[in-house]
């Protein structure tokens, strides 16, 4: 079971290698903090986001666009949380 999870996470991590540096950097930080606590729901949401084209995904992560999918929206929030934006206010 643990082996399965490791393989799934490794696959997701590789799918986080993107065409745009901006996304690489965001995902890099995300994995540093969330590798151990990503649950099945989170995995599914992340996987669906990773299917997107890079410019569209960056539009969501940078807050220029929003998604209607609540699971995706939660994941986008987590991606944005790990950025230094948390230092504000």
């Amino acid at each position: 079971m643990e082996e399965d999870r490791k393989a799934r996470i490794n696959r997701l991590k590789w799918h986080c290698r993107r065409a745009l540096l901006e996304l690489d950097l965001v995902f890099d930080r995300f994995w540093e903090r969330h590798e151990d606590d990503l649950d099945a729901q989170g995995e599914a949401a992340l996987e669906s986001l990773l299917e997107m084209q890079d410019h569209d995904l960056w539009a969501l992560v940078s807050g220029r666009e929003v998604t209607d999918d609540p699971q995706q929206a939660r994941m986008i929030e987590r991606l944005r949380e790990v950025s230094p934006i948390a230092n504000f206010e």
Binding site: R18, A19, L21, E22, L25, P84
Partner: protein, 595 residues
């Protein structure tokens, strides 16, 4: 370790713009073509190209390929080969129109023709005034281009091997290239792709620098593989830098920020550009601004705990202006610098952007090396195109929008030449040399069993910081010499990297270690070549190159109008002359590069 062999007519490594364009050519001709790519094709770094593709279509005003050629030669600071440059500029219209036929959604004029916009360095009438030459699809040109070409490839039955890491070039005792070894990331399986034609289109290697605009995938895999197989790397000292990348992250801050009134400041809060460029100040050209920033940092006036960046200040601008005219900047500052640029200045450094050098090729896309009586002997079965190759059309400095053109023209050219070579060769595949395959297996085995070795992440970081400090945008004799030593120490650590995770499925730790094997070859090539070239030319600027009437801006045509060739074996350098004779027109004569 086990491996299997798969046979193809052609194998292409890389599915960015150049790889996809080459594949179209081969598959359309009916050849069994495999494209290996470590990420899904439309996630290649070509996606990040926004500016457009240069072609003298003349849709909005008079233009022609000869003017484009002149601009490219001048931009290259005369290091570009004039035969290849003429070839590229003459082919531009053809490849752009083809792309349109593949379904590329170019922006259009009211009359239905492709819309063209001006871009830095592109002029009419041999440098007289700016001309509209760039064809774009909004700000997603690279992305749209990849989609159009990927669809075309599906139509002509190109076989994609997605999420495969190419490992080594297979070269026999006669020096012929017979394919590559590769790893399926999903299973860890090793396969030898046995082919009559091998085309490298693996992109750039900007990750050798600490501050780079390149995505993480740009690890110079093709260059590393070529170097290990005894192929030299050409003109690797020439890297294009952008003045304002976010410090520590590399994300680009557009020139538009300074255009709107942004000011660069040092640790004393001084607007230092007033000293370096009293008239243009912060709006001076890219190289002038980058050099001034580096001087401030090197002389101890940098900011932050390590005094290693300067500040880009826009806090004096009205917030409405920033949010309206520079919408992405606020978000980038927050995301990557932890800075609200409405209230605080942004930390910036000159940032590596594009690699002008690469695997030496001629304009047919054939890889050429010194051998026999020639400095440009064709390596049979081996071709390269795009950023990983050096044709050389960019010479010492690339013009904007010429990179997308390069990958279209030379991707097609490499594919076309491979098709012709395959047509002329009815013999069976040459036998695979066991020794070449064993080298890959030994490399993997070493990595799997390394004990007390070096950490991949730390070693990569040490390499990146060394390259940034010792071979950055502005170069100093002593720093370069010390950098050569330091990089060679780091190379010894790279040879002993260790991974804890030995699993087979998508083992990213193993992939990163293998990528580092490639990056270090590029780093060595860059710093050794830069250390040896004692002049300033294009993007290679040395503090110790004297600016005299014979050597304007430190350019020494008498001794250095030549291409560098770096060999992995012995860290050795060789040189070959620049091709100053074009295909059909007169030579564009040497003169000082001034705009």
């Amino acid at each position: 370790m086990n491996y299997t062999v798969r046979k193809f007519d052609a194998v292409i490594v890389g599915a960015g713009g150049a790889g996809l364009r080459a594949a179209i050519q081969l598959s359309e001709a009916g050849y069994k073509t495999a494209v290996l790519t470590k990420v899904f094709p439309t996630r290649s770094h070509t996606v990040a190209a926004q500016g457009g593709v240069a072609a003298s279509l003349g849709n909005s005003e008079e233009d022609n390929w000869h003017w484009h050629m002149y601009d490219t030669v001048k931009g290259s600071d005369w290091l570009g080969d004039q035969d290849a440059i003429e070839f590229m500029c003459r082919k531009a219209n053809e490849v752009v129109v083809e792309l349109e036929h593949y379904g590329m959604p170019f922006d259009r004029l009211d009359n239905g023709k492709i819309y063209q916009r001006p871009f830095g360095g592109h002029m009419s009438n041999f440098g007289e005034k700016p001309v509209r030459r760039s064809c774009a699809a909004a700000d997603r040109t690279g992305h749209a281009m990849l989609h159009a070409m990927y669809q075309r490839n599906l139509k002509v039955n190109t076989q994609f091997f997605v999420e495969w890491q190419a490992l080594d070039l297979v070269r026999d005792a006669e020096g012929d290239v017979l394919g590559v070894t590769a790893m399926d990331m999903e299973t860890g399986e090793i396969v030898v792709f046995h082919a009559k034609a091998t085309i490298f289109a693996t992109g750039g290697s900007g990750r050798i620098y600490y501050s780079s605009t390149n995505a993480f995938i740009n690890t110079g895999d093709g260059l590393g593989m070529a170097a290990r197989a005894g192929i030299p790397l050409e003109d690797m000292e020439f890297w294009q830098f952008h003045p304002t990348g976010v410090a520590g992250a590399g994300v680009l801050i557009t020139e538009g920020v300074r255009g709107e009134g942004g000011i660069l400041r040092n640790s004393a809060g001084e607007r230092f550009m007033e000293r370096y460029a009293p008239n243009a100040k912060d709006l001076a050209s890219r190289d002038v601004v980058s050099r001034a920033m580096t001087t401030e940092i090197n002389e101890g006036r940098g900011c932050g705990p390590n005094k290693d960046y300067v500040l880009l200040d826009i806090t004096h601008l009205p917030p409405e202006t920033i949010m309206k005219r520079l919408p992405g900047i606020h978000e980038i500052g927050i995301q990557f610098a932890g800075v609200d640029c409405l209230r605080e200045p942004l930390p910036v450094v000159p940032t590596c952007h594009y690699q002008m050098g690469g695997i030496p090729t001629n304009y047919h896309g054939q890889v050429v090396v010194p051998g026999g009586n020639s400095k440009s002997m064709v390596v049979r079965g081996f071709y390269a195109a795009g950023e990983c190759a050096c044709a050389s059309v960019h010479g010492a400095n690339r013009l904007g929008t010429n990179s997308l053109l390069d990958l279209l023209v030379f991707g097609k050219s490499a594919g076309e030449t491979a098709v012709n070579d395959l047509r002329g060769d009815v013999s069976a595949h040459k036998p695979l040399p066991q020794e070449a395959i064993d080298k890959t297996l030994a490399r993997l085995d070493r990595l799997n069993h390394q004990k007390d070795g070096a950490d991949v992440h730390e070693t990569r970081l040490a390499m990146q910081r060394t390259m940034q400090k010792h071979a950055g945008v502005f170069r100093f004799k002593d720093m370069l010499a010390a950098g050569v030593e330091r990089i060679s120490e780091i190379a010894q650590q790279v040879a002993q990297t260790q991974i804890k995770d030995k699993s087979k499925v998508f083992n990213t730790a193993r992939i990163e270690a293998l990528e580092l094997d490639n990056l270090i070859e590029v780093a060595k090539a860059t710093i050794v070549s830069a250390n040896a070239r004692t002049e300033s030319r294009g993007a290679h600027v040395r503090d110790d190159a004297p600016d005299t009437p014979e050597m304007p801006d430190g350019r020494d045509d008498k001794n250095w109008l030549k291409h560098t060739l770096w060999y992995k074996e012995g860290n050795r350098l060789d040189y070959k002359s620049v091709k100053l004779t074009p295909l059909s027109v007169d030579t564009i004569e040497l003169k000082k590069r001034a705009y």
